[in-house]
Each structure stands twice: as structure tokens, then as C-alpha cells.
């Protein structure tokens, strides 16, 4: 018996002690999700999230002693088989555009997510089968959006192209134009990756079938005309335009570059940034430029919108699809495994 006690004593006592944990508390919040968070949009203190096959989620951001996301909506936007990968928010009308990976764009008043009495139909467009990106064209009570519509010829699958369609959302019935949007530019590259409309100009990434490039279109009396084409050596993944510049996120770990305009809108120079990273999403606000780089996490630069950006913080997040700035020093990141919030 004594021998047994002796043996038990030996096994219950060890020399090794655990170390004191070391942490900086810069990762301030995690909200796990079953599908990826592909895109995030912010309207005041409400965060909207494109959550793939789970539809969309909306959160009220509570930022008292400790920052938390208070879920106020989660569910489908329109159908049971949707896969929401991109959101656009019309600030004036309060309409949320949700883009499905393989099907349609849907539009919903944000208020209808939280208020069943708000009512209103939500009708999807049936024009094209692939509308993965869009940009707000006119942000009014009846907003207009431009959407890239990828098309495959039903008789010849090799005949593929992308067009840019314009849709006016009629306020009374809450739907995207059901009978096909008006095509404003046709015959573009099927591998077109992104578009952005800013200050009367439309910026399109990878529209040329023959060479990676950026095309910039001017609008004149409703007609889009090519202003110039900026050719590249690497396929651009995403583009974001600002007052005096546009920022292009490149594929294949080629980083991004910022093109500068002169007073007449001509390209006069460029900066190269973030070499070694593949850029998936670009965001600029609060004088911060935020680049989401997939496995590379998130890169944050101080940027006034026209000078050379200066590095501010590198965030080792989960696989980062998109990110935005909240409250000047917090970065909300949409990742493969949910939402992560960091303080910089």
C-alpha cells in the first residue's frame, strides 16, 4: 500500500511549471462564422457582412469598455442557395446591394432586415448568371449601380465576355431591374476583376483580353468613352479610385500601385507598394489605406490620398478578404473564419 502511495506521489508531482502568458491585447474581438466573411460594409455603427452561403449578417458595434459586435440580423437576402461575396451600400437610399458569387445581385433596404413591418418585395435580376462585382453609380433615393455581368455564349462556351450593366433601383418596388440592365460597355475581358465609379469616371481592372490593364472611362451625357488605358505586367485583382489617384491591387504577390493624376485627370506618376503581397481588397478612410492580402493578413498605411503612403501596421490576421477602418484606430477584418477586430 505504501509503495502504491509512493508511486502516486511521484506521478502527481512534477517540476515543470507553465509560463506566464504574454499578450498585447491588440486583437480585441473575434466573431467566428461558419462560412468566410468576404466583404464588410459600415454604415454609422452598423456593420454589414457578406457571409457566403450563410447570406448576410448585420451587427451593431458596441464600443463601451470593451468592443463587441451585437448581432441584429443574420440570414438569407433572397434565396436558399445564395453565396454572397460582395456588398455595396447606398448611403442615401439605405439600400444594400448583395452580390451572389454565381447568380444574381439583389437589393434590399437595410431597414427591411430589422423591421418586418417595413415590407416591400425583394426581387432579383435574372439578366446574367455572374455578377460578382458592382459599384454605386448614382447614390440617390433611387440609386443606380454599375455591375459587371459575365456572359458565356450558350452555343459556344469559348465565347465569353463581360459587359458593364447599369441598373436603376426603383424606390417603390425595391428590386433590381428584372428585365436586364442597360449595357453601357460590352465586349470586355471575361476575366475582368473589378470596377469602381468615382467623380464621374469609371475605373475597370483587367478589361483587356490581350494584356493586363486598367481602363478609365469618362462619362459624357450618359455615354462612356475610354479616357486611357494603363497597361500592367500582372493581372490586377481590384481597383479603388479617389480624388487624385487610383489604387490597384495586383495578383501574384506583386503588391499594389497608386497612380497619380494631374489637375486635368491625366496620369502623371505612380507609387509601388507592398511588394510580395497579393492584394485582394483596398479600403481608404480616416487617412488610412488598408490592404487585405489573403494569407498575408492586412497592411495599414498612413495616407493622405495623394502622397506616398507610409507603413503604419502589419496585422497577422486570418486569411483576409476585406477590411475597413472603424473609430480611427480599429481595423475590422473579414476573414476566412469570421470577423476579427484589431487595434493599431
Amino acid at each position: 500500500m505504501k509503495l502504491i502511495v509512493f508511486i502516486i506521489l511521484i506521478f502527481s508531482v512534477g517540476c515543470l511549471k507553465q509560463s506566464e502568458p504574454v499578450f498585447s491585447e491588440k486583437l480585441i474581438y473575434i466573431y467566428p462564422t461558419l462560412d468566410s466573411v468576404y466583404d464588410v460594409e459600415l454604415l454609422n455603427d452598423t456593420l454589414y457582412v457578406a457571409n457566403g452561403e450563410l447570406g448576410i449578417k448585420a451587427f451593431k458595434i458596441k464600443n463601451d469598455e470593451k468592443m463587441v459586435l451585437d448581432s441584429i440580423y443574420e440570414g438569407r437576402v433572397f434565396s436558399e442557395e445564395e453565396n454572397i461575396i460582395d456588398l455595396e451600400l447606398s448611403q442615401v437610399s439605405g439600400i444594400l446591394f448583395a452580390l451572389d458569387k454565381f447568380h444574381y445581385t439583389t437589393a434590399r433596404y437595410t431597414q427591411s432586415l430589422f423591421d418586418d413591418a417595413f415590407g416591400g418585395m425583394v426581387i432579383q435580376s435574372t439578366c446574367y448568371n455572374y455578377q460578382s462585382k458592382s459599384t454605386i453609380f448614382v447614390d440617390e433615393v433611387n440609386p443606380q449601380i454599375l455591375t459587371l455581368n459575365r456572359k458565356i455564349d450558350q452555343f459556344d462556351e469559348s465565347n465569353r465576355s463581360t459587359s458593364i450593366g447599369k441598373t436603376i433601383v426603383l424606390n417603390e418596388i425595391y428590386y433590381l431591374d428584372k428585365d436586364c440592365s442597360q449595357e453601357i460597355i460590352i465586349g470586355l475581358n471575361y476575366g475582368l476583376t473589378d470596377l469602381d465609379f468615382y467623380n464621374g469616371r469609371l475605373y475597370i481592372s483587367n478589361p483587356n483580353k490581350d494584356i493586363p490593364s486598367i481602363q478609365v472611362y469618362n462619362i459624357n451625357e450618359g455615354t462612356f468613352s475610354l479616357a486611357f488605358e494603363d497597361t500592367l505586367s500582372v493581372i490586377p485583382n481590384t481597383i479603388s479610385a479617389y480624388e487624385k489617384t487610383y489604387v490597384v491591387g495586383l495578383d501574384n504577390k506583386a503588391g499594389c500601385y497608386i497612380a497619380l493624376f494631374d489637375i486635368n485627370g491625366n496620369k502623371v506618376g505612380k507609387f509601388d507598394l507592398a511588394d510580395g503581397f497579393t492584394i485582394r481588397h483596398i479600403h481608404h478612410s480616416n487617412n488610412l489605406l488598408v490592404l487585405s492580402t489573403g494569407y498575408g493578413g492586412v497592411l495599414v498605411y498612413d495616407w493622405d490620398g495623394e502622397s506616398m503612403p507610409t507603413p503604419r501596421a502589419m496585422i497577422s490576421s486570418g486569411y483576409a478578404y476585406s477590411a475597413l477602418v472603424y473609430d480611427n484606430n480599429k481595423i475590422i477584418v473579414g476573414t476566412k473564419n469570421g470577423i476579427e477586430i484589431y487595434e493599431i
Binding site: F11, E20, P21, K26, L34, R312, M314
Partner: protein, 368 residues
């Protein structure tokens, strides 16, 4: 506890005629060994990590290379006080020092102590303890310190900047084992049962990976075939992530617990079957580890499993009465499967090593 041991020894000593003092006056056997060898992938880097490490040495702590010459030195002392009539008692102490030429940080010490008590023919009870105070793994990003605030001198981020987020990862490990062996109806053959408890604790930046591991093992040792030794064991381990959900964000979002099954076998033949050498041996092992995490925030462990295979081959030559030379080589391959492709690329690796080892055996007898 000390009183208990003394009283136990004293009570047995009354039974026999040899005095207590004389029972402890026995020789101490010494075994000193040194080996030198080459480890082709001493940080166990995956193929994709090997490419990154060559490009960004900061992820392997500026190691000169991903391979290394290795020097292992060991001193073992064995002491067998005569405590019980017709029953041997063996106390063994081992101290070892392993040095890596490419990265001094990887060098480590290991200490072990065992007490084995003979109970009957091929029947032993053995208690052992080993401590490895600090073993360097490699550089990892500490997820509790995930933000690198850029310094003013930095002109831009590039893929090497991620080195600023890396922190050295070390762990200490302690193993306590109890083993019982008993003969089986084959000449000189026996089986063994053992249970061990292992603590595997990391440095402060990585405490979210701290483990307590319980291991159960059954082994069989066949010695009835002349000139051939066959050994095999199977074991089952259950690892509990003791810091899981303990407070920090990383402990909330990761669970490193796992279950592991292991099979090991070896065959050794003596000089009758091989020319020149005195012993030829081969061993092989197969480990299957399944991580238990089902957290959606834990892509590193959720749905992940390892298959780990290792094969070793060696020959021994008695150079003189006291000096033995051993040449050995091994190949290890770990394949990771995961629902996340990046985890498979991160945790799979292959490596080989070979060593030459010289062991000098002697004894000193200070009593007579």
C-alpha cells in the same frame, strides 16, 4: 517520502546478513558517448517553408541553413545497490547535450533518471523521469501579439516584414513513466505495460499550446530466436490542451488537444547474420494523430490529422572491450491532412539524418 524510502530499505536489510553500508558499496557503471551526424531538415520545415526559409532566414531565426551538423554527447551512470536478496535494483542517470552547428539556439540538454526494481525472472518495475528544459522549435507569429507597428525607418512593407512578427517558440517537456514487464512463455521473452504522463509547456508567447499528455503502451520483446531480437509496441496518447479557453483570445480560438496512436517495431540480428559488424538493426514506426478541435476559429487544428512514419537502420561494431561504434541513419516523413490546404502545406515534412556514434563503457569502484 525520504523517510518512507529509508524505512523500506531498513526493513529489508534486517532480513539479510549483509550490512546496510555494504549493500551500497557497489561499482558505478559509466557510459560516455559522443556522436556526430547530419540532420537534413533539423527544424522540420515543410517543402513550402523550406522555400520561404531560404528566402527569409528570419523565420528560422537567421539560421545558417535548413540542415545542420549535429553533435550529441551523453554521459550515463548506472548504480545497482544491493537492496533485496536475489533482486537487482538499478538506478540510472543520464545527461545529454545536443549541439546544432547551424543554429546554436536549437541546442538542448536532456536529463533523465530511472529506478528499476527486479521482481522476478524478466519481471521488472521501472519508474523513470526525464526533463528537457528548453527545446527551440522555430519562429512563429504570436497570435496574441498579431500587430507589428511600423518603425519610422521602414519605407514600405514587403514580404520580409513579416519577420518582425515572428517570435521564437520554445517548449519544455517532462515525462514521468511507470513500466511493468513480465515474462511470457517463450525463452527470455517478455511483455511490458507502461503509463506515462508528459507535460509539454511553451514559452509565454505560446502558452495556448500547452499540453498534458497521457500515454498508455503495451510492448512485446521476443528473445527466443537465437541471434535475433524482435520488439514491438503499440501506444495510445491523449493530449489535453490545458490552457484551452483560459482567457486570452488565442486560447479561446484554438484547441491543440489530440489523440494519437503509435506502432513501433524493431528487428536486431547479431554477427551471425552480418559480416564484420556485431549488430544490425532496423526499426520502423507509424504514428497517426487526430486533432480534436472543432472550433470554426481554429483552421490550424480543426479537421487536421498527421501520419508520421519513421524508419531507422543501424550497425554496431565492438572496437575494443570498452569501445563501441554505431552507424545509424533514419528517414522520417509526416503527411498532414486538413480541411485547410495551407495547413497541409505548413505541417507536412520529410527529413533524413545519419550519425556515427562512439560509446565508451567503464566502471569505477571507489569502495574496494
Amino acid at each position: 517520502m525520504f523517510k518512507f524510502i529509508i524505512s523500506l530499505i531498513f526493513s529489508f536489510s534486517l532480513t539479510y546478513s549483509v550490512t546496510i553500508v555494504n549493500r551500497f558499496k557497489v561499482p558505478v557503471y559509466v557510459s560516455i558517448s559522443t556522436s556526430i551526424g547530419y540532420d537534413e531538415n533539423f527544424l522540420r520545415l515543410s517543402p513550402s517553408d523550406l522555400i520561404s526559409a531560404n528566402k527569409f532566414p528570419s523565420m528560422i531565426s537567421d539560421s545558417k541553413s535548413t540542415n545542420s551538423m549535429v553533435n550529441r554527447n551523453n554521459i550515463g551512470l548506472e548504480y545497482g545497490p544491493y537492496l533485496f536478496k536475489d533482486h537487482e535494483t538499478r538506478v540510472k542517470l543520464n545527461l545529454s547535450r545536443n549541439l546544432y552547428q547551424s543554429l546554436s539556439k536549437k541546442s538542448y540538454n536532456k536529463y533523465s533518471l530511472s529506478i528499476a526494481q527486479h521482481l522476478g525472472p524478466f519481471e521488472w518495475l521501472k519508474l523513470s523521469y526525464s526533463l528537457l528544459p528548453e527545446l527551440y522549435l522555430r519562429e512563429y507569429v504570436d497570435k496574441d501579439n498579431p500587430v507589428y507597428d511600423s518603425s519610422e525607418s521602414l519605407s514600405d512593407f514587403d514580404s520580409s516584414t513579416v519577420g518582425e512578427l515572428y517570435t521564437s517558440s520554445f517548449f519544455s517537456t517532462e515525462v514521468m513513466r511507470i513500466q511493468y514487464s513480465h515474462p511470457i512463455p517463450f525463452h527470455k521473452s517478455y511483455y511490458s505495460l507502461s503509463y506515462s504522463k508528459q507535460k509539454q509547456y511553451y514559452n509565454g508567447e505560446f502558452t495556448e499550446f500547452d499540453l498534458d499528455i497521457n500515454d498508455f503502451k503495451v510492448g512485446i520483446y521476443l528473445r527466443h530466436i537465437p541471434h535475433v531480437k524482435i520488439s514491438a509496441n503499440v501506444s495510445k496518447s491523449v493530449a489535453d490542451n490545458v490552457t484551452f479557453q483560459e482567457g486570452s483570445v488565442s486560447t479561446q480560438t484554438k484547441d491543440r488537444g489530440f489523440e494519437q496512436s503509435r506502432m513501433w517495431a524493431s528487428v536486431i540480428v547479431d554477427e551471425r547474420y552480418i559480416p564484420f559488424f556485431d549488430e544490425l538493426g532496423m526499426s520502423t514506426s507509424f504514428d497517426k494523430r487526430a486533432f480534436s478541435s472543432n472550433l470554426i476559429t481554429d483552421p490550424l487544428h480543426k479537421g487536421r490529422s498527421h501520419s508520421d512514419r519513421k524508419t531507422s537502420l543501424w550497425v554496431k561494431k565492438q572496437i575494443s572491450n570498452k569501445l563501441i561504434a554505431k552507424f545509424s541513419g533514419s528517414y522520417r516523413s509526416r503527411t498532414t491532412t486538413s480541411i485547410e490546404e495551407f495547413v497541409e502545406g505548413l505541417k507536412s515534412f520529410n527529413k533524413y539524418d545519419f550519425f556515427i556514434k562512439f560509446t565508451y563503457n567503464s566502471n569505477f569502484n571507489i569502495y574496494y
